[in-house]
C-alpha cells in the first residue's frame, strides 16, 4: 500500500514542479490526474500498481474535505446575508445544467444511431 501511495504522491510532486516551475495554468492535482491517465494508457504504470490506494482514497474522499468545510464558520460573513439566494441560484443552475447535458447527449446519440438503434 505504501508503494502504491508513493507512486501517487510522486506524480503529485512532479505536477507541483510543473505547475510552479513552468507557471502552468492548471492546478497540480488535476495535472497529476491527467498524468496518471496517460501513464496508465501507455502501460508505463499498471492498474494493479495504483488500484488499491486509489479505491481507498476515493472511497473516503469526503473525510479529507471535513477540515476545510469547518473553515466556513470563518467565511460565512462573505455571503452578506444572501446565503439562501445563493443556494436558490445554485439549485436553478444545477437543474438547467443536468437538463442540458442530458438533452445534448440525447440529440447527438440520436443522430449517431441514425434510427437503426431507435427503440
Amino acid at each position: 500500500m505504501i508503494k502504491q501511495l508513493s507512486i501517487i504522491v510522486s506524480i503529485l510532486a512532479i505536477s507541483y514542479m510543473i505547475e510552479i516551475g513552468l507557471d502552468f495554468p492548471m492546478p497540480a492535482s488535476i495535472m497529476g490526474m491527467i498524468l496518471l491517465v496517460i501513464l496508465l494508457v501507455t502501460k508505463i504504470i499498471k492498474l494493479e500498481q495504483v488500484e488499491n490506494i486509489s479505491d481507498l482514497l476515493l472511497k473516503d474522499v469526503t473525510l479529507f474535505l471535513i477540515p476545510l468545510s469547518i473553515g466556513i464558520i470563518e467565511k460565512v460573513h462573505l455571503f452578506e446575508g444572501k446565503f439562501l439566494i445563493t443556494v436558490f441560484i445554485l439549485i436553478i443552475s444545477t437543474i438547467i445544467s443536468i437538463f442540458m447535458t442530458a438533452l445534448i447527449m440525447k440529440l447527438m446519440l440520436g443522430i449517431k444511431a441514425g434510427g437503426k438503434n431507435d427503440k
Binding site: 492546478p27 497529476g32 443536468i98
Partner: protein, 232 residues
Amino acid sequence: MINELVGNIPFGVALTLVAYEIGKYIQSKTGIKILSPLITGTILVIGVLLIFDIEYNNYKQGGDIISFFIAPATVSFAIPLYKNIKLIKENLFPILIGILGGLISGLLVTLGLCRVFGINEIVTISMLPKSVTSAIGLAISEMIGGVSEITLVLISIQGVTGYVVAEIIFKILKIDNPVIKGIALGTNSHVSGTAKAMELGETEGAMSSAAIPIAGVIMVFIIFVLEKILFN
C-alpha cells in the same frame, strides 16, 4: 486551559476521524443517502469546537494533515476514468459536447442570476467551479481567487440537488440510455450524483464516476477562457 490541551496535531486528526465515522453511522442507520458524512461530520466538529470554546487554529493543526489527502485523492480519479475508457471512446464526441454544454449552461445561468440578485464578486467567483467534484473544484477556486470554504459548501449543496432532481429531469426528457444518465449525473453532481447513478445501474455508475474527472478537466479550460474574457 482547554486550548493548551488540544493545541496539538493528534487532537484535530482524532476529532475529524471520529466525527466522520459517526457521520457514516448516521447515514447508514437513517438510510438517507444525501446525509453525507461530510455534512454531519462538519456539523459535529463545529459543535465540539463551539461547545468547548476551542480555537479554530488549534483544530486546524490536525485538520491540515487530513486535508493533505485531498490532492492524492484527486489524482486517484484517473482510475475510474481509465477503467471506463473503452465505453467513453465509443461515445466520445457526444460525451464531450454533453459535458461542455452542461457546464457552460450552468456557468452562464449562475453568472446571470448572481448579477440579477446582486451577489458579490467573491461569492460569485467562489461559486463558478461548483459543478465539479470538491477536490477539483477547490483547486480551481484557489486558482481563480475564490474562497475555497465557500466553494466547498456550494459544491456539496449542488451534489444534493442533483441527487434529488436528476431522475425527474430524465423522465421529462424521456431518457433511458444509461450512458446519458451517468454522464449527466457525474458532470453536474459529481460524487453525490454518482451515488444516485449507482442506484440506477452499473453502467450509469461507471459513466458517472468517469464523468467526474473529465468534467473537472473541461471545467479548468472553460474557467481559464472565461477568466480571460471577463476579467481582462
